[in-house]
Symmetry: C2
Subunit: 229 residues, 2 copies
């Protein structure tokens, strides 16, 4: 049976309470575990993965379409494929502790499947499929706003979204500059912190940025400065 701690974690960190707990258990279960526990009648994540894959695709696409109005289609497509690939999804899966709570059979466990990126990717997709069915797309959006979008906003996936590097290159065209990012405020509990950053260029405050992480807030400050230059 799925560890109740996973449900506590979803509630505490993301404010998510599933109506149908069997659905999220199915999303977290590999067929090898289902086969070993036929009596529990859980099923496995595979059909939910099919749905969740498309759920992630539309939400991430809409986020990129809206937040990067200046990017042409080709760059949007490259950025999307950088985000929706196995290693990124495996990382997001670990971030919400899917690796700890997923259910696999004994044989798979011995072979180290719990850390296999393709499995973590599949279950991250299945989890989002279950969330979509149980809570609707608005809750999926809120969840991704906590788990996925901060990484995109931090410029982790593409140099097109790396505003800090753009800004530095632009400022240095006019000669040596002294660029500093300073945290001036942070608020909220650990799992939902917000940072405020000041971008200081040659000892003059150029812009401010807010974000889910220091890096995110720095990118937002750099983005604003670029818009104003």
């Amino acid at each position: 049976m799925l560890d109740p701690k996973f449900f506590d974690l979803l509630k505490e960190d993301y404010g998510i309470s599933f109506n149908d707990k069997k659905l999220v258990e199915r999303a977290m279960t590999h067929s090898s575990y289902d086969n070993e526990h036929r009596d529990l009648n859980i099923g496995d994540y595979e059909r939910l993965e099919f749905l969740g894959d498309a759920v992630l695709e539309i939400n991430i696409s809409e986020y990129l379409f809206t937040h990067f109005p200046e990017l042409p289609e080709g760059k949007l497509t490259r950025l999307r494929s950088d985000i929706v690939r196995t290693d990124s999804f495996a990382r997001f899966a670990k971030q919400i502790h899917i690796d700890k709570y997923l259910q696999i059979g004994r044989g798979e466990e011995k072979q180290g499947a719990r850390q296999r990126h393709t499995l973590l990717e599949d279950i991250f997709e299945a989890f989002n499929g279950a969330l979509y069915l149980d809570q609707g797309n608005e809750v999926v959006e809120q969840f991704l706003t906590q788990v996925v979008y901060p990484h995109i906003a931090s410029g982790e996936f593409s140099e097109d979204t790396d505003f800090k590097t753009h800004l530095q290159e632009k400022l240095q065209q006019a000669g040596e500059v002294d660029i500093n990012y300073q945290v001036i405020d942070e608020e909220g509990p650990d799992h939902d912190k917000k940072f405020e950053i000041e971008l200081v260029v040659n000892k003059k405050v150029l812009s401010k940025g807010y974000g889910y992480s220091k890096k995110h807030a720095e990118q937002m400050a750099a983005k604003r400065a670029l818009e104003e230059l």
Copy 2:
């Protein structure tokens, strides 16, 4: 400028009235036309195609997930890729007369781009992206229920969804049978017809089916008969 007849057609056939007509014009415009008419400031379909691709993916995935609860993930994935490929989308594009109303430059026109399946596919995606942004996903769903889902329900894309053939095979296991599908009712205007079909096996009515086309209604009757056998 986009032919107003296209807007009339959308209204009459699908009940769609765009709030932002510039958005659908952009979805219907190739960059070659935009380049020849810089003063009109239309833009082209490319970014909307990026979004629309994902809009179609989630809606078709949810339709398949819901309507084929018995299909495992592998078959769902194969079925989805049969539906979302270039030739199918080009066919749907023609069905709503995108080929007639899309805007391309003179050079492209001469080279026959108006009938090119990859272009028709792209614009069908862009159109759905525009519809999603302007009207929300519920209207997209209604639109696909008229334009795309009937083809899936008719079993056009996979033998897994071809209930008529399944039923025939099953019935013939017990020897020769006489299988007939008879239209017993049709209603609604031409562009929104509904058919009612009786499935008659050895002169006995086995089931009824309703659908957007005769073939769809026949498949639904066969599906019901299979469930009851």
